[in-house]
């Protein structure tokens, strides 16, 4: 691989990481406010069969991941109707089954990329699509943000103020599913929760109000990805690991700077 091609991969990875990290961090602040910070974890695991298929047949991992997240959510929803069991318990059933199915047919050499992500081989097209989808997540999240905050404070209050709670919750969940599907390429199926939860936690420690909190979540998410990807280019250590470690370092520092 020539220097030019390394530079292009680096630029593509940075573009993808900046947008995915920003979208995940921004959405993560909303998820933390709704006590759903860990939701991206099980959803990330749900993507593993899709990632395995993508790696086996050579198509984009996000393309494999998204239908699996949707399918997983559908299963959880159907099981909940049928069993009346708590959703978190059913999430455990579905995501654990997803992991088991993945390892039935995932080639051994593809295990690490599936679990912790791989940004070494990304195309211009997949970067462009990811950037567009992340921009859509950012716009959609900023549009639903006030209403979701109001729903979080009081659903009755939101409904009586004219907020269509089902519609907003649907858009919110769709954004999470999309963000997880895009995030797995960078940090893998194991660590997608960290991509959204850690920047949100750090931002919570540093912010005095909702506005600071949401934008700082976005900036911290982007910064972690940028630094992680730069670290990968210099060390060869998987970017997913470095992104999470950078993000965790920010969090530890924020504990000492806590508002």
């Amino acid at each position: 691989m020539g220097t030019g091609s390394i530079d292009m991969q680096f630029i593509l990875a940075l573009a993808m990481g900046t947008l995915v990290g920003g979208a995940a961090g921004y959405l993560g602040t909303l998820m933390l406010s709704k006590r759903m910070a860990l939701v991206a974890g099980p959803l990330g695991h749900l993507t593993l069969p899709g990632i395995a298929l993508a790696l086996t047949f050579g198509f984009d991992v996000s393309l494999g991941a998204f239908p699996m997240v949707v399918l997983g959510i559908l299963f959880i929803w159907l099981f909940e109707i049928k069993s009346k069991l708590p959703m978190e318990a059913l999430t455990a059933v579905v995501f654990a089954s997803g992991v088991a199915i993945t390892f039935l047919f995932l080639p051994e050499e593809q295990t690490v990329p599936a679990l912790i992500g791989d940004i070494s081989q990304i195309s211009f097209l997949s970067t462009a699509i990811t950037v567009i989808l992340c921009a859509m997540i950012l716009v959609a999240t900023s549009r639903i943000y006030p209403s979701i905050v109001l729903i979080g404070i009081s659903e009755d209050l939101a409904q009586s103020s004219g907020v269509h709670t089902r519609k907003y919750n649907f858009v919110y969940l769709a954004c999470i599913a999309l963000m997880v599907s895009l995030g797995v390429r960078i940090v893998g199926g194991l660590m997608t929760a960290a991509l959204s939860a850690i920047p949100a936690c750090t931002s919570y420690n540093l912010s005095k109000n909702q506005s600071e909190y949401s934008y700082r979540g976005m900036i911290l998410g982007s910064s972690s990805c940028i630094l992680g990807i730069i670290g990968f280019m210099f060390t060869g250590i998987p970017a997913g690991l470095l992104i999470i470690l950078v993000s965790t370092s920010f969090f530890v520092v924020s504990l000492f700077l806590k508002r």
Binding site: K34, V149, N209
Partner: protein, 198 residues
Amino acid sequence: MIILGPNGAGKSPLLKALLGLVPYSGEVSWVTKDISYLPPQELFQRRDVLLNVGEFFKLKNASQEKASGILKRVGLSSSMLQKSFGSLSTGQFQRMIIAWALVDEPSVLLFDEPTSGIDVGGQDTVYSLLHDFWEHSNLTILLVTHDLNIVWEHADNVLCVNKKQVCCGPPKKVLAPESLEELYGTGVKYYVHGHRKY
């Protein structure tokens, strides 16, 4: 109007039905669309969110000036706008949400249990505030409460419910000991003080 009745009588579902938030049979028609609603304070979740009071008012597209003005009317200074949502005392929080509900000048306020979790002094303040808005802002208030005492001081009309309508009308006319007994299923005695003025 005060909606009165024992626990489980259907007071809160009645308010929600009036707003179309729960399924109901029959017909609800309003002459206005400017209706505001406040649920009981204990149903407000997530008071630990990082929202400050100013941002909470922005959720209603209220300007800082308008928010400051209405906060002053409920006895809170405009510096409250910078305070975080979760740092307010129970009494401050209740006055703040009254201001929030009234900032866009609704014609009707539906208020479920306005004084739940508030001490006696705070309860007096809340009812005085609501009475003031009712008198000076052309505001119709439908208020759900367990508190029989406030009916005489603040209400034009009272609606007594216990799964069905037990009585409806001016308190002096309809709140006879017999209807209270039917309402609460036990003998309820009351004494009307004549010295309160608002």
